[in-house]
Amino acid sequence: MKSLLKGGHVVDPVNGRNGVFDVLMDGDRIVKVGRDLPVDAGTRVVEISERFVVCPGLVDMHVHLREPGQEHKETIATGAAAAVAGGFTAVACMPNTDPVNDNAGVTEYILKKAAEANLARVYPIGAVSHGQKGEQLADIAELKQAGCVALTDDGRPVATAILMRRALEYASMFNLPVIDHCEEQTLKGDGVAHEGCQASTLGLRGIPGEAESIMAFRDISLAELTGGVVHIAHMSARQTLDAVRYGKARGARVTCEVTPHHFVLTDDMLASPEPYDTNVKMNPPLREAADRNAMLQGLADGSVDVIATDHAPHHYDEKRVEFDQAPFGITGLETAVSLCFDRLVHAGAISIARLIELLSVNPARILGLPGGSLSEGAAADLTILAPDLQVTVSVARMRSKSRNTPFDGWTLRGGIAATIVGGRTVYLNDDVSDLELRT
């Protein structure tokens, strides 16, 4: 059955579209995009106001879905539900599950659960090393064969330069990028917060920005040495951004991502409004204003390639402990778009087209995924954004199984109207009244 999205503001950077267009879908495919497309008999027409942005489905290349092994935090089904509620038609999930996704059995299990959930597309990321132990390479050909789209030991760094070198060399045979959790472990030590005024005052052990940038410099050098592809995950420190710029200037195959919390928040959140709130404990930590501002600058000037959430659900019980005992991480899937609109687009830092590059075009390209464009013949994965929707973040309404976010109660401008995966409306925001997409 054909359906026509008529009259929305289409933003499709790959095809150079940024204006009012119609999008014709047939089943799970995009058939045609154009102005005032003729309507056949039998085509369902959905009128969309030009206040709404129709864009290629958003892709979050850094989420933790916790299954298998930690289903009390999140499952693939709840994570996929959170993804579509946040406007993401696809997510790439990290391998630090229990057991670790270092073999085809785990990869296939994830894909099976994702197919059962039948919401967002889920792309597994395999481990670099067996058990993420940093000793021996995982069976990378097997992981690729089973459906992994990248490799990482995320949650842990690849501690030795030689293993990272071999990983970059070996992965390049399969066109798999290595996603790099940059952390020099001895410098991080048992740190729990950014090393600076706030941590010092509160008596929290610090993690300097250099713990991240030292490893970024190392691995960018190794990307140059090997010709491999490295993607710097969840960049937090201004020195790391310098490392990425250095690498790009030299032609190294390096890309990078920033999370919404690292371009919105600073370590001031450690002290107020709620001192020692474990929902502001994440790794890498919230850094100081100079770092946050550097991330904003990098997003605006093109140095940053991707916005990814590092969605890291943790159970309420695990977070209701002493700050230094709490696990690192916050959820992100259901707050990302609102934070991006409010703090980037409406703040005048970037255009909507640039936002779509960061949230869709570039992550799809880096991981080699279908998607990232509204090209004719492509899968009908679309997100309909409501740039002026007033959103009040409420953990009680979230689809994620966990509630560990510091943004609860925040009022932000911009949100999701609907999410369409394979031509099927998998999420429709009840707060948006004038869209009739229900199937």
Binding site: E195, S200, T201, L202, G203, Y276, V321, E322, F323, D324
Partner: protein, 307 residues
């Protein structure tokens, strides 16, 4: 004020009120019958997750002199292994309706967690590397008694600044009352970002003690060699240890303080610790009066007491 979590929450006036109240409380300790009925019928739980002799005893004596019903809970690592969280322990204690909980805990911010969960008043008896507010109050009380004032004094603090909750509380308190604090220690043990008006940092102990009115020593923990903070305790003593020769660079009426427990021959020479400038045992004595004042004021002061 519901709780005493940190000096940083107190105004200069509140600090002065506590110190003035402690003056009156000290007099109770000098009577033949060292007990008043002020907190009769109030229940105070001393919940200690770290070994402590001085602080726990000091709180307990203070509570008993005010006629509170006191209960000591020393949580061994065994029950931590059993898996009960601090939050659950606190809520169980809370269910038995104590009036106040005095908490010592190795994690910074543990008292804030308790204060969020409990209606009982929380007194911080030391949380991780964060604060030890009653120690700073008794230090200030001792300085004020000996010097007649705090404003304008040069107060030199020497030792492991990075890991010290006593330092953090003292910087907050002493700068609020107008002292000039010089914090001195090896570069590896100086925290970043604590600079503020009234505080200077130094790595030269000779410079730091020159002209000091007060010298406060901080404990050096034996395990600091492990994180490569220090080469050896011997080198530490030679470079930063408080010796009579160094004390001689301070003002002639200098007082030497230490929050305890002391490592003789590591941060302080015995002849200094036991010498005429030392007020270390006065600090211990004053601790009881200051804690009585805190307990009394948190219980509601004159309006909350029986008489």
């Amino acid at each position: 004020m519901k709780d005493l979590l940190a000096i940083s929450d107190l105004s200069g006036e509140e600090i002065t009120l506590i110190l003035d109240t402690a003056e009156a409380m000290r007099e109770i300790g000098e009577r033949p019958i060292k007990k008043v009925p002020t907190l009769r019928g109030k229940t105070v739980v001393n919940l200690f997750y770290e070994a402590s002799t001085r602080t726990r005893t000091s709180f307990e004596i203070a509570e008993k002199r005010l006629s509170a019903d006191t209960l000591n809970i020393a949580v061994s690592t065994a029950s931590v292994v059993k898996g009960e969280t601090l939050a659950d322990t606190a809520m169980n204690i809370e269910a038995m309706a104590p009036d106040m909980i005095v908490l010592r805990h190795p994690s910074s911010g543990a008292c804030h967690l308790l204060a969020r969960l409990c209606r009982s008043r929380i007194i911080n008896a030391g949380d991780g590397m964060h604060e030890h507010p009653t120690q700073a109050l008794l230090d200030a009380f001792t300085i004020r008694e000996r010097k007649g004032r705090i404003e304008g004094l040069k107060i030199t603090i020497v030792g492991d600044l990075l890991h010290s909750r006593v330092l953090r509380s003292n910087i907050g308190l002493l700068t609020k009352l107008g002292a000039n604090v010089c914090a001195c220690g090896p570069r590896t043990l100086i925290p970043t970002g604590l600079d503020r008006p009234g505080v200077t940092f130094s790595t030269s102990v000779d410079e730091a003690v020159a002209g000091a009115d007060v010298i406060m020593m901080l404990r050096i923990q034996q395990e600091r060699m492990r994180g490569a903070f220090l080469p050896s305790l011997r080198e530490y003593f030679n470079t930063f240890g408080m010796t009579a020769a160094r004390v001689a660079r301070a003002r002639p009426d200098v007082i030497i303080m230490h929050p305890g427990p002391m490592n003789r021959g590591v941060e302080i020479a015995s002849d200094v610790a036991d010498g005429p400038y030392s007020v270390i045992l006065e600090q211990v004595a004053n601790g009881v009066a200051v804690r009585m004042a805190v307990l009394y004021l948190l219980a509601g002061g004159a309006e909350g007491s029986e008489n």
